[in-house]
Subunit: 525 residues, 2 copies
């Protein structure tokens, strides 16, 4: 296990006080020494990234795609060593980590496909009209170009898919931007393995040195230095509201402010409409018992708010959910800090006025540490609306059932909760038609709206939006999941009356890349 | 002349202390009383905008296009009254204002065409695969949706094309967002006429009341209140660096931060390569004498920095430019404040170390006020690099010729000046091939790169990018000119497994709008 800071094609010297990884299930210290980076390493990583940028931003698209595929293959080549280490560092079960590895590899290949196909650059050409009156029209051609070095913060809750080689890294590399990862201190061994896989792929496919670097830190200092560094051009972060806002503030206060894409949490409301409850209250409860508690509830799209109109069927839903949740074994949380926070936040919620406990899972595994007991609580919509604290996210296996008197109260709750990553409606055929105004409000506050499903399990595809109005993310115009995530790191550049030999291939006459382009307002290939 | 605050389909009461418009050429006070808005008017305008949003965001695309075309027609119907008033308030000549009216009307019709065609919503559909293993794939459909009320700040230097019914308003209305304009205090009469034209068009085409409002203020207070208002969802601004950064700061400090698109000025470097100067130094000088001084140099893309390598031909260029500029009559600036600022900034530049005067126009019109004398100065690249003050924008007919020793110094100057709206290269055939590294740097700092032309005169089309790296704008991922300007006000929304009857038409099976869509990763219509 090489726990040194990875810079370009090499590693920095190991001369700081090492930190260790901890298995949250057992509390044991894991193998490997990880060396917090220093200012010097930050400078070095960005110097390499800037050098790499010049060559990498214009690299042949097939070579870039080959690099992304090579990363995917190197990750697979790590085999069980990676799965075991990730499980040990995260407390997540092997099945989940195997699935997550599949998603990670899938994301890399998705971006490789996107890059190889090539139309993602949104090429637009408007021909010259030298005889136009009163002024001649110039030849203008526009496409998306990479912005420069991107700093990616690894997230704790997806140690593969939202970490070192996760969607942020894959989309930034696909866009033509070099990446410097700040490895998450909760899974440094996983990060070291995956970082080495990326380095190996970069060398094997002949990428310019510095296209990828990765720095360790057990605290916040290196992350701050990376965001402050004048050569950093964009930042991605998935984590807490507090963390996201702190990074955004640093980025805004730079001499040259830079965009941060911060995904900061969501309570993902689920609206249980009356006819759906009449038809299948128990089935919905079973489905949601799984969605609320899977991965110890540590998912960005975990449904933390269940919302229904008072009725015997809502009571049946609640009772079934209580029964199912009570049967669920406790689960290991990612870190002692996250577990402590969950205990404190969920405990605090239960002490709020009019909040009552509905169910708590009780089967704690013998000797296991950092265990979370899944918890369901209940409150009236009136009390919920009167207490802003109740709309805060409790990261973990927690959900609050909010009971409204009528549809008007449902709407009031939606207006109250603010921006969300997802919003789900459980409804029978045609039932939606009678909730037009509710649906209008629902659409205004979310990035994804679902019918009769669970928000957990985000599909990675072109039509996915994983980013919602504030405070779910800090800029709802972008997504962090799916192929359009690439747009976070690119800006349009227009060439006017440019030398046709020197235009980028995507904009050349004859369409040598055979991509979709908007030419004189007509989409053509 | 109705100078009251326009709110929805009516006007607010006129009960504040009125301000007047001034003719900058004569210093005379113009007809009309304009009433600064109050907090109450801000609240009212946003209340109407929020109400309008619910209906307007999903309005039929042909009705929205008809509204935009009706605005264009109502502006034309104002006839000479508008031209005369705009000239009187801005000091700009009638030919320029007539051209600007053409551009304004053209922009509105361009967005009407965009909206009527419909593909701009970037519809993406991924079909369900219920049998996929290990998890079924859901049906997901995504398109761009409007974000909510947009606050548009009118700009002083384009009293029609970047003001009340300018590109910002046209693109925001096209996107489905209601607009509240903060009228620029330098042309309140022009604003009142155009605002009334928009209101008339909105009523005639049956738009929801509140889709457009417009507030006056002679100071900064109302602008701040508009940006701070919790219902405002985005802001556009074109003006000074100081103004843009102040608004961005306010927007970032809101409880719910919102995007600001601020275009904040640029010195638009022009690189004069040796062979081009050898071939046509005098011709280039003539071309640039016009570009530097047109509209009294008050254009965002005015070339404020000329950059060449020392040579006899560069001297010939300089001498010809000096001769041409000296012949140009003084011109009226937009406001006394802008004129005073120009005198002070250009005068200050001439006092900086090693900066020498090359030419100053001398023909001041008899009795004319607020006149700017076009000024060209010169400095060595070494001195320019040593003094950051010299890269600041001097808004007006000013240009600084920076003389480099060699190509390496040219590159150093480009790295030094930072983000720009435009960058122009004057070169002979094949000359660019020998400046590969210079061009790489040039592309990194600009939103538009031109060959053998002038940056002034921005074409309004799909392939235009008018927005560059900081400090030219605060987010280089967007443009304020051209049809893609619409993307500033929209966010993606994904419908998962949604009721097919209730999907927006753009996402329905069978493609009822006949738009381009990405369906299962294939572009199709």
């Amino acid at each position: 296990m090489n726990g040194r800071n990875l810079i370009g094609n090499g590693y920095a010297e190991a001369n700081t006080a090492a930190f260790k990884a901890i298995n949250p299930l057992t509390g044991e210290t894991l193998e490997g020494d990880f060396f917090p980076a220093r200012q010097k390493d930050v400078d070095e990583a960005l110097k390499y990234a800037v050098n790499a940028f010049t060559a990498y931003k214009n690299i042949d698209k097939d070579r870039k795609a080959a690099f992304l595929r090579a990363i995917a293959n190197e990750i697979l080549a790590l085999g069980d060593e990676l799965i075991e280490r990730t499980c040990a560092e995260s407390g997540l079960p092997a099945g989940r980590i195997q699935g997550e590895r599949g998603r990670t590899v899938g994301q890399l290949n998705l971006f490789a496909d996107l890059v190889a196909e090539g139309s993602w650059v949104d090429a637009i050409i408007d021909s010259a009209a030298p005889d136009r009156q009163p002024m001649p029209k110039p030849d203008t051609r526009r496409m998306l170009v990479a912005m420069g070095p991107v700093v990616v913060f690894g997230a704790s809750n997806f140690p593969l898919a939202f970490s070192v080689a996760g969607g942020d890294t894959a989309s930034a590399l696909a866009s033509g931007c070099p990446v410097v990862v700040k490895a998450h201190s909760a899974h440094p061994g996983t990060s070291a393995l995956v970082g080495a896989a990326i380095q190996k792929a970069a060398i094997a496919t002949g990428m310019p040195e510095g296209v990828f670097s990765m720095l360790f830190d057990s605290g916040y200092e290196i992350g701050e230095l990376l965001v402050k560094h004048p050569k950093t051009k964009a930042v991605t972060f998935t984590g807490s509201f507090k963390g996201g806002m702190a990074l955004t503030k640093i980025a805004n206060e730079r001499a040259e402010p830079i965009p941060v894409f911060a995904e900061m949490g969501s309570i993902n409301p689920v609206i249980l409409l009356p006819e759906a409850l009449e038809a299948r209250a128990e089935k919905i409860a079973e489905q949601y018992a799984v969605s609320i508690t899977g991965s110890a509830g540590q998912l960005c799209t975990q449904p933390g708010l269940l919302l229904g109109i008072t009725s015997p069927e809502l009571t049946l839903f609640k009772e079934t959910l209580a029964e199912k949740v009570a049967e669920i074994a406790s689960s290991t949380m990612l870190t002692p800090g996250i577990c402590k926070n969950f205990q404190s936040l969920s405990g605090g919620m239960l002490e709020e006025k009019e909040v009552t406990l509905v169910a708590k899972s009780s089967k704690t595994a013998e000797g296991a540490q950092n265990q979370a007991l899944a918890t369901i609580a209940e409150v009236s919509a009136k009390a919920f609306l009167a207490n802003p604290k109740l709309k805060e996210e409790v990261f973990g296996p927690w959900s609050l059932l909010v009971v409204a008197e009528d549809a008007a109260e449902l709407e009031a709750v939606l207006e109250h909760v603010g921006g969300q990553l997802t919003l789900t409606v459980m409804a029978e055929d045609n039932e939606l038609l009678t909730y037009k105004s509710l649906l209008e409000k629902a659409e205004d506050i979310t990035g994804r709206i679902l019918l009769n499903g669970v928000p957990t399990g985000v599909e990675v595809c072109a039509s996915m939006q994983h980013g919602g109005p504030f405070p779910a993310t800090n800029d709802s115009r972008f997504t962090s999941v799916g192929s359009t995530a690439i747009h976070r790191f690119v800006r349009p550049l227009t060439w006017q009356n440019w030398d046709k030999k020197l235009l980028p291939p995507a904009l050349q006459d004859g369409n040598p890349l055979n991509i979709w382009r908007l030419v004189d307002n007509t989409m053509t290939k």
